[in-house]
Amino acid sequence: MPGPDSRLRDLDRARWRMALTLTGATVLLYFGFIALVAFGRSLLAIQLIPGLSLGILLGALVIVASWILTWIYVRWANAVYDPQVRALESDR
């Protein structure tokens, strides 16, 4: 059974890995959208159905996807991270 110190270090690493991965995903998502806005004007002007251009759809999806990313984190933290924190707490 590993001691509390090494378990704390593992927990710390796991949280930062999750936090940085999801931050990276948010950065890619938003700056990918901005890159399309800057360099893909004609692409974003395509209307999928009359009125709904790809640009508007992707803009709305960036908002929805950001929220889904926060949901993924909250799910992970409640299901995986919190029980490990409680386990560490009981050793102190």
Partner: protein, 517 residues
């Protein structure tokens, strides 16, 4: 202001707006009276006694963040430029996931009242507290100027008061909330405002969509039919991609450095509640920005960009005009009162966080070296609130008629370049030092202010020069990396073993929270 479009009640005293406004003021002052009886300690004054639930804090975060600029400004921008305005809708939201992933929980577990608590934790207090307080006050002051000037203009436009009266009224009511009710009253004002703003925006969007068979696509198609398919695609706004990236970086990382937002994480009982509250806030704010798509295009089709610009050059009256068209003078009155409530709530949150920097960071930690008793701490917090409130009114009157729209994005740039790097490095980098933190925050603040002065925003738009020395309108693309680099280099050049040794204890507290609370 003379009315170019004569068939609007905007700019005339509106009985319904007054009535809604008085109801809002009565309710919030009632809340303040109730809160005042529960505000006896510094923990209650700054952090509402840590009794705010995750759901309440989610609404309060949304209330603190959604300023009149986002409600009126983005709807106006979309109604006059189409798709280009939507770039802002997405930009204002993407900071929230970053707040959740990197900052919210460690901040709640490590600090007490201000974000400087976390940066200064394992370092020499005096220099770090001073630098962090300057970053906070710079952010808060710029944000306050933008809000107060906007408030004066809007209220004059909507209620027909004079600019100065409007500013003084906002100042007095806001000081009343914060001075007597502290964080408890401020939180509930935010919650009431968030509910009002969300319901107003939802109702307005629904009324728009009823004219288009409840189909957003039909609304967008009508806009394209009348003003060309170009309104559904990127236009002139993003002529320089680097400008867009730089502004995007300020918005994305600035949210995680806004003192009045960060302070809200201390009002909940634990890190888990802080986490849940960001999830709820992100959902509310995201929904609100999705609604700006409908409101903006609705105003474009039903009122028309020219008619909107005729009432207010900046387009800020698009949403109120839309409300008047679809719901008559009573609905206009409601939306006007919501806009006023929105401004009041945001300035209250800003003032409280600025007062915390003055009293908790500067007076208690620097001047009194942590040896102030509870009574003195609360007294100084209230004096700081009053002083900052008066300064806010003074700034609002001083900057009358100035173009201050850029100040919000400047506040975000400073928050992103001065506060965010220091906070992040303090949380997760063992070898961060006092000198590194101070250099990083000072570099972030000074470089941002200097580059914005040399940028087209000041040189071309305000001073009327032909060119600017620095090409970007927002400096975050340069200043965020610069601040990180300065902090890391100085820390590596002069290690501080005491600060590194403390990190191990800090690491435990980052996850488990403070044992004493």
């Amino acid at each position: 202001m003379t009315q170019a479009a004569a068939d609007t009640a905007i700019g005339q005293p509106n009985a319904v707006a007054m009535a809604f406004f008085f109801v809002f003021i009565s309710i919030t002052l009632g809340i303040t009276f109730w809160a005042a009886k529960r505000t006896r300690t510094t923990e209650q004054f700054y952090a509402a006694g840590r009794t705010i639930s995750a759901g309440q804090n989610g609404f309060a975060l949304a209330g603190d963040y959604m300023s009149a600029a986002s409600f009126l400004g983005i709807a106006g921008l979309v109604s006059t430029t189409g798709f280009d305005g939507l770039i802002y809708s997405t930009g204002w939201l993407v900071g929230w996931p970053v707040v959740l992933f990197l900052i919210a929980e460690p901040l709640r577990n490590l600090g007490r009242y201000t974000f400087a608590d976390v940066v200064a934790m394992r370092m020499r207090q005096t220099p770090v507290r001073i630098a962090a307080a300057l970053g906070t006050l710079a952010t808060v002051t710029l944000y306050l100027i933008a809000q107060m000037v906007g408030a004066g203009g809007l209220i004059r436009l909507m209620f027909g008061f004079s600019y100065e009266h409007a500013i003084i009224l906002v100042g007095i009511v806001m000081i009343g909330y914060v001075l007597f009710g502290g964080m408890i009253a401020t939180t509930w004002v935010q919650i009431v405002k968030a509910v009002l703003l969300m319901s107003g925006a939802l109702l307005l969007a629904l009324l728009v969509l009823l004219r288009f068979h409840l189909s957003p696509a039909a609304l967008f198609a009508a806009a394209a039919e009348r003003y060309g398919a170009g309104v559904l695609a990127p236009g002139k706004l993003v002529s320089n991609p680097l400008d867009a990236v730089s502004l995007g970086m300020a918005l994305m990382f600035g949210t995680a450095g806004l003192p009045h937002i960060l302070m809200r994480f201390y009002t909940v009982p634990d890190a888990r509640a802080a986490r849940t509250s960001v999830f709820i806030a992100t959902g509310l704010i995201g929904l609100f920005y999705l609604l700006t798509f409908i409101l903006g295009f609705g105003a474009m089709v039903l009122i028309g960009p020219d008619a909107i610009r005729a009432v207010d050059k900046g387009g800020n009256m698009a949403a109120p005009l839309l409300a008047e068209l679809l719901g008559g003078t009573p609905f206009l009155g409601f939306i006007a009162a919501v806009a006023f409530a929105t401004i009041l709530a945001v300035v209250a949150g800003l003032t409280l966080s600025g007062a915390a920097a003055l009293s908790h960071d500067l007076w208690v930690s620097v001047v009194r070296k942590g040896h102030a008793d509870a009574g003195e701490q609360l007294r100084v917090a209230r004096i700081a609130t009053l002083a900052l409130g008066i300064v806010a009114v003074g700034l609002g009157i001083t900057f009358k008629g100035q173009n201050v729209a850029f100040m919000v994005s400047l506040a975000f740039a400073i928050a992103a370049s001065a506060n965010f790097p220091a906070l992040l490095l303090a949380i997760f980098w063992r070898r961060y030092t006092t000198a590194g933190a101070v250099t990083s925050m000072a570099t972030g603040t000074i470089a941002t202010l200097a580059l914005i002065y040399l940028s087209p925003t000041i040189q071309v738009d305000i001073l009327g020069q032909g060119t600017a020395w620095f090409p970007l309108k927002n400096p975050a693309l340069v200043t965020i990396p610069l601040s990180f680099l300065a902090g890391i280099l100085v820390s590596l050049l002069a290690p501080e073993p005491a600060a590194a040794a403390e990190f191990t204890r800090l690491e435990r507290q980052t996850h488990l929270g403070s044992p004493a609370e």
